[in-house]
């Protein structure tokens, strides 16, 4: 099957600074992928290139096997909702009508119900909307477009928690009814974690983690307790982070913890706490995975001991 999105050796340089550096990503159709990373990591640049709004310095980006830039056929199958989308001086209804012309799968009724959900009136000028209302309009357009490839770039600026939950719920329900490929960049990771089948974490223009969420959840554990007992558990394993305070130590271990080790931890007063997806992404961006692309869970820091 042709991937919905495939990016290979993608590099984008701005005056000597690499916003994207040899990025390789393959996204299968019909999946929701989270694009995670710190501000300035390169998320927006990647999405803009995928949407054909920017050109790579080298490497390729393909949407359903074709280059997006200036390809009408590709662009019609794609919708891109940006953070702080700028609209011309029109009313909400006109913005929706314009969207309906360029999106072949547009569902006007769904768009209207979304506007109602977010409390937006079609006769209101876009210029007079608050930041959150503009975000809601972008979300309504992005969802009602039902584009085969849907790109959201932190689409919720100014939206409160209730409105964001509404977005997640509508996205999931509509995705279930009309499967499509969604790539959503966000830094509200824990909040959106359950939406994702896969996550890609980028940092300083490089992919530092690319994995199925199912493989990550429960696969990274913070182990804390008496130093020697913690060291015994960490023995021979990939350790991402080490801290020590007096006789207490805390390390982050990758990979599953065997039942025997759990029992051992319990007996020696060691706490095992699974890391959330957000905490895993933070560890990944902090360099736990090294800087090579497509690094998995197995790599880590050298396994020196914490207790000297």
């Amino acid at each position: 099957m042709t991937p919905a999105i495939s990016v290979s050796g993608l590099t984008r340089r701005y005056r000597g600074h690499a916003a994207l550096d040899e990025v390789d990503i393959v996204i299968e159709p019909g999946t929701i992928t989270g694009l995670l990373g710190r501000n300035g990591a390169g998320k927006t640049t990647l999405l803009r290139i995928l949407a054909g709004q920017e050109f790579p310095s080298s490497g390729t980006a393909r949407i359903h096997g074709a280059a997006p830039a200036e390809d009408e056929q590709v662009l019609r199958r794609l919708v891109f909702v940006r953070e702080d989308q700028v609209y011309p001086d029109i009313k909400i209804g006109q913005a929706l009508r314009a969207a309906s012309w360029c999106c072949p799968n547009w569902d006007g009724e769904f768009a209207s119900s979304l506007l109602e959900d977010f409390g937006l009136q079609t006769n209101k000028p876009v210029k007079r909307l608050s930041r959150g209302q503009r975000s809601a309009l972008g979300i309504a357009i992005g969802l009602a477009a039902r584009a085969e490839v849907t790109l959201f770039d932190e689409p919720y600026a100014g939206l409160d928690a209730v409105a964001r939950q509404l977005f997640y719920d509508r996205l999931l329900a509509d995705f279930a009814a009309f499967p499509r490929t969604v790539l959503l960049s966000t830094h509200l990771i824990d909040e959106a974690a359950a939406l994702f089948e896969n996550v890609v974490v980028i940092d300083r223009g490089r992919v530092v983690l690319n994995a199925a969420v199912d493989e990550l959840r429960g696969a990274v554990t913070r182990v804390s307790g008496p130093c020697l007992a913690v060291d015994a558990l960490a023995e021979g394993r990939a350790v991402w982070e080490r801290r020590r305070l007096g006789s207490q130590a805390s390390v982050v271990l990758a990979g599953p913890i065997a039942p025997g080790d759990r029992e051992q931890a319990r007996l020696s007063g060691v706490d095992l706490t699974p890391l959330s997806l957000q905490q895993i992404a933070v560890q990944a961006a902090a360099g736990a995975f090294g800087s090579a692309p497509r690094i998995g869970l197995e790599s880590g820091f050298a396994t020196e001991r914490t207790c000297a």
Binding site: L172, A176, A194, V213, P274
Partner: protein, 130 residues
Amino acid sequence: MPEMAGLGDGAPLFVQVADRLAGEIADGGVGEGERVPSTNELAAFYRINPATAAKGINLLADDGLLEKRRGIGMFVAAGARGRLLARRRAEFAQRYVSPLVAEAVRLGIGSDELIALVKEADREREGASL
């Protein structure tokens, strides 16, 4: 944590969804021969990716606890409840008794005292349910 209807970080979400569903079958919440929620219903309820919900259902189907009826959905297989209860009993000592004893040892609670505490808790429970 986000609102995922009580799911946590400890295990893959599809495993947690399967566990919840298995728990409901074991407790008799969904009877044998009854339909279980669809993938999309589970996804909407737990606010999770439909693919994740589908993996959870498939886990139970592969285990023979659910059976597919073409075009209608997934149903609880005959004998599913008995099998789940037998499995839970088998796991009881390891999951509940060993940690209980380990903590008791750490606190210096001897086995006689522990047994007395268990009996007292049982009496309180009976009292509460009357």
